[in-house]
């Protein structure tokens, strides 16, 4: 295994230390438990937006901490959900009194750890809400699975919800917004090469010289189909259509009901895309695929969206939610209304995403 690390054990901390040194004006890093937080937190009167997940997806989440996006981020070990103490301690550090929104990608581990964290935080008198992101249309039969994975739409949700928190949205309104962003966004990914988890030291899966896998997750989870390499346009079309033509999607999520004081089950439905929708189009590199190739994909994606009557009002092209050094890409489309669009355009100043400042 060849990586620019000192050892699998020190990788996450060394990387956090480097990020802290590179961006002292934006972020600070707390160790044991590990979390990244806004240099100016707590921000008086504002709800704190906290996310987290396994490491290996950088810049997500730590690189999205800063003005107009996350208030804190909890990095786990590589590809392993962080632990409740990280989530709790970061909440205590950045809570201004206005409460905390945990943005949680839908993986069993993340969900359970964030639920435990929420219970612990509530026990300490912090108002908390957990909102799931589950946007990966590659997960089929989701009635019989842990449901759709949280992938690319997480980045868009963190930007939009972070901007709303900056604007002063209260916790409930923020949770509503985050749920709206979640149900209106869909993604799909593909891999050209496998990633290698440092502690494992060998590739998670093997692809042949001319093979790709479509539908993979950001942890190298197997996809829908393994197939021969194809021109970028064909791959893009296949993935874009899977997203655009995806039916209404119904599932049950667990959210905290403050009035009842308990977790309740909620049915959420993602409405399908339709002609006339305005979307943010996000073409993401799994890390190893260079931006020049992403633009080849974007070219075709724009053509398909136009053909399908979707208007791309904004776009994001680059490595934002990665999978270690994996080559491959993902596409996310998020239907936006004027409110979301305004929040997307609002200033953001983080190590990984910056505009308007």
């Amino acid at each position: 295994m060849k990586k620019l690390i000192n050892s699998p054990e020190t990788f996450v901390k060394d990387s956090l230390a480097g990020m802290a040194l590179a961006h002292p004006e934006l972020i600070k890093v707390h160790y044991d438990p590990n979390f990244v937080y806004r240099a100016d937190a707590p921000v008086s009167g504002k709800v704190a937006v906290i996310s987290g997940g396994g490491s290996g997806h950088e810049p997500m989440h730590g690189g999205f901490v800063g003005m107009g996006m996350l208030t804190a981020a909890c990095p786990g070990e590589v590809f392993t959900s962080p632990t409740p103490d990280q989530m709790l301690e970061s909440a205590k550090m950045v809570n201004s009194g206005a409460g905390v929104l945990y943005i949680v990608k839908n993986y069993t581990g993340d969900v359970m750890n964030f639920e435990m964290a929420a219970e612990l935080a509530r026990a300490e008198g912090i108002k908390v809400q957990n909102i799931l992101i589950d946007d990966d249309v590659a997960v089929k039969d989701s009635l019989y699975t842990a449901g759709r994975r949280g992938v690319g739409n997480t980045v868009l949700a963190e930007k939009i919800v972070g901007a709303a928190a900056e604007k002063g949205y209260g916790l409930d309104k923020l949770a509503d917004l985050c749920r709206q962003v979640n149900i209106n966004g869909r993604s799909m990914g593909m891999a050209i090469t496998s990633c290698t988890v440092p502690a494992k030291g060998s590739p998670t899966f093997e692809l042949g010289e001319e093979e790709i896998e479509v539908g993979i997750g950001i942890h190298g989870e197997p996809g829908i189909e393994r197939m021969g390499m194809k021109p970028a346009d064909e791959i893009t079309e296949m993935m874009a259509l899977s997203i655009i033509e995806d039916d209404a999607y119904t599932r049950t999520v667990r959210e905290w009901d403050d009035a009842k004081g308990e977790w309740i089950e909620k049915e959420l439905v993602d409405p399908p895309f339709k002609a006339g929708d305005k979307v943010i189009a996000f073409v993401n590199s799994m890390a190893g695929t260079p931006v020049a190739e992403l633009y080849v994909v974007y070219r075709k994606l724009a053509e398909i969206c136009e053909k399908k009557g979707l208007t791309i009002v904004r776009n994001l092209v680059g490595p934002y939610i990665t999978s270690l050094e994996m080559q491959g890409m993902s596409i996310t489309l998020l239907k936006v209304d004027e409110e979301m669009l305004g929040l997307w355009d609002a200033p953001v100043n983080t190590p990984g995403l910056r505009w308007g400042v």
Binding site: P33, F79, T83, T204, G217, P222
Partner: protein, 212 residues
Amino acid sequence: MITKDQIVAWLRRCADVLAENKKYLTDLDAAIGDADHGINMDRGFTRVVSQLPGVEDKDIGNILKMAGMALISSVGGAGGPLYGTFFMRAGMATAGKYELTNADVAQLLEAALDGVLQRGKAKLGDKTMVDALTPAVEAFKQTLNGNAETDTLTALEAAVAGAKGGMEATIPLVARKGRASYLGERSAGHQDPGATSSYLLLNALLTVVNEA
């Protein structure tokens, strides 16, 4: 009867067994998950052992709760909250005790399994650790049933045999919970890593009691 010292020895033994099986569990997880289960469990029990000296003179309940807390704050992933809850509940069920009767052990196991079920909402046959834990707890209780004289070793042997059977029975199953569920039909034909670590943990207890 299981003593406090045996509980402490169990936790150390768990750490050894998980260190030995780190690669094995990780490889099982690579096949249908994300290749970290062995690494996570090893990290967790290393933490448990490092915190043992601070609680060794406390009661069994406190020792097991410490183990639960240590797992929760060091394992992460699905394994962390599940095994963390397992040991937290085990600790709550044995609060104040310095030795455990067979009935105490049965309560411990039942409470721990309940915790896992509540936290993870898996059902039997979902291809998770529940598939190893459930038959183990059942076998333990059944062996005791109406027979207060049964020795702990016999009951534990039955429990471990149950866990082993449950673990092996996960092989043909299609996963319905956790990361393996994303594979759908493709998850069949592989043994579940969590069921395997559950078997190893119970077997470690048997070994310790056996050595006494």
